[in-house]
Amino acid sequence: MKNKFNFLLLDFAISSIFRRGSKNIFIFFVFTLLIFLLSSVLFISNSIKSELDTTLNALPDITVQRLQAGRAINIPTSRINKLLAIDGVKAVIPRVWGYYYFANAGVNFSVVGIDKFDDQYKDLYAKLCDKFDFDKLQDKKSMIVGKGVQKILKSNFYNGYFNFIKPDGSLEKLTIAGVFSDDTKLESNDVILLPMEKARDIFGMSKNEAVDFVIKVPNPVEIPNIAKKIRLLYPDCRVITKEDLSISYQNIFDYKSGLFLALFIISAFTFFMIIYDKASGISSDEKKEIGILKAVGWTIDDVLKEKFYEAFVISFISFITALSLAIFYVYFLNAPLLKNIFIGYSSLKPEFDLPFAFDFQTFAIIFFLTVPIYIAATIIPSWKTASLNADEVMR
């Protein structure tokens, strides 16, 4: 404020960087790599998070499971009427769903039973109900599958159909009547939609059972109250609200990216040491130069300021470069390699695009986790350089 910005000093710092090119290029590369890794991980996790948020929004208001010995068991559909009688409940939808292990490919498919006459607990399924005629599906013994499922089946020579093995060992052949894709790709990639009856057949369930109930409550304020009532009504049931789920998802997620950051801290520490080492190695030329600067009237503070400008310029350029690279890598190339490590669920999952999700906060995190570390690593070496004696020039 008191003085205008010293462009001459900035100029000198920039020329200084270039005059000690090889050392600074090395620092630039290492630093850029570090920022690139960090921002890529954060970008990917942000994207997945926003995918998850979309998924979470589509979650049922209340899910009711029945427990026995701490494990979820099937729930009789006869309970539906009593639940419907609770004030504020708009609909109770029995669900039949589960995982089907396809041994040849070593993957799990999510099998979801759909009943045309029931309310659909997901907009997506409702849309599909309109699009494909489920009555016909039933007759023709067919199913609708996600893109990922289709791909896996194809690679195992199931062209247009699949043989489910039922619990009693008999086969159930279903043909693929349609393939769907959706914007929540993360979640619906491995899904197989079947008529409810077929799903019960495949899982070996009886006609008056469901896996769980999904309850629709139009007024979100009512949700906790209704959940409480259901718990009283059926003490053997676990009642999960949307909010419970979203918190636990959120936690798992933060924990996962937390682990990555912990790894990052280790690499940041390594980086700190590398910079410290590089910055400490003062060549005799540089020693002489500092001697000259101090002999012609630079104070320790001036030299420190110049060193800080150098560090700032390098970090600024690295920062911009790394950020642009990371944006390109994550959002244009769809983060090959890194994405897989990050998601790591079933091998079906990787087929999805990362939606663009970038906010100020991520920017702040990337900044605070990189630039201060770099500057910190240069504090002591810069000070050592700056306090060299001016009589260096007399030798």
Partner: protein
């Protein structure tokens, strides 16, 4: 500006135990505007005296007082400020930054004080014109000849309009013609009211008309 060395002794540590006594009880008094030649054989302590005046070094005992200020007791950053304001030092080995251009070298002393760009350019033109190296302004210093390098070094020493000009063996790396040239430049500077201290054992300097006083140094003492 007045320069005073009072009872100055300077020892240099060599290795862990030995020490060299470079100066022994030296007393010098240089008046404002005076041109003084320090002469004496190599190793007699001339450079050491210059570095003490410029506060590049501190005496082991005794005091160095410039313009009433005890530069021998100043902290490191104040000695820098003192040099920035008052001293123009022409070093024996020029001490230019070899990878910078002539112009960049000359402005180095002024960078920390963030001078006005326009004033700076005027001063640069003036100096480079005065030493007829205008065409070399943007040439990297290591590609200049010895004589040109020295003129750049002189320009750098004068950029801050110093009240004390110090030259250490200025002709050591020059041939006779260039040495005479240098002497001419020094003669012109005499009128600028600055004190000038030259250390040299080059006979060319002996008994020059513009030199007010010659001080003979031998083995760290004045004779």
């Amino acid at each position: 500006m007045m320069i005073e060395l009072k009872n100055v002794t300077k020892e240099f540590k060599v290795g862990t135990h030995d020490k060299i006594t470079a100066l022994k009880n030296v007393n010098i008094h240089i008046k404002k505007g005076e041109v003084v030649l320090l002469k004496g054989p190599s190793g007699s302590g001339k450079s050491t005296i210059l570095s003490l005046i410029a506060a590049l070094n501190k005496p082991t005992s005794g005091e160095v007082i410039v313009d009433g200020k005890r530069v021998s007791k100043m902290a490191d950053n104040f000695t820098s400020l003192f040099r920035r304001e008052h001293i123009g030092f022409i070093f024996q080995k020029f001490n230019l930054i070899p990878t910078l251009s002539a112009k960049e070298n000359v402005i180095v002393p002024l960078i920390p004080s963030n001078p006005d760009q326009e004033k700076l350019n005027n001063r640069l033109r003036e100096l480079f014109g005065q030493f007829s190296i205008k065409s070399k302004m943007n040439v990297i210093v290591k590609n200049l000849s010895g004589g040109e390098q020295q003129r750049v070094a002189i320009a750098r020493a004068l950029i801050n309009n110093p009240r004390i000009i110090i030259a250490d063996e200025p002709t050591a790396n020059l041939d006779e013609k260039l040495s005479l040239e240098f002497i001419k430049i020094m003669r012109n500077l005499k009128n600028s009211n600055s004190s000038i201290v030259i250390a040299s054992h080059d006979p060319l300097f002996f008994n020059l008309d513009f030199i007010d006083r010659q001080i003979d140094i031998h083995n760290g003492a004045i004779i």
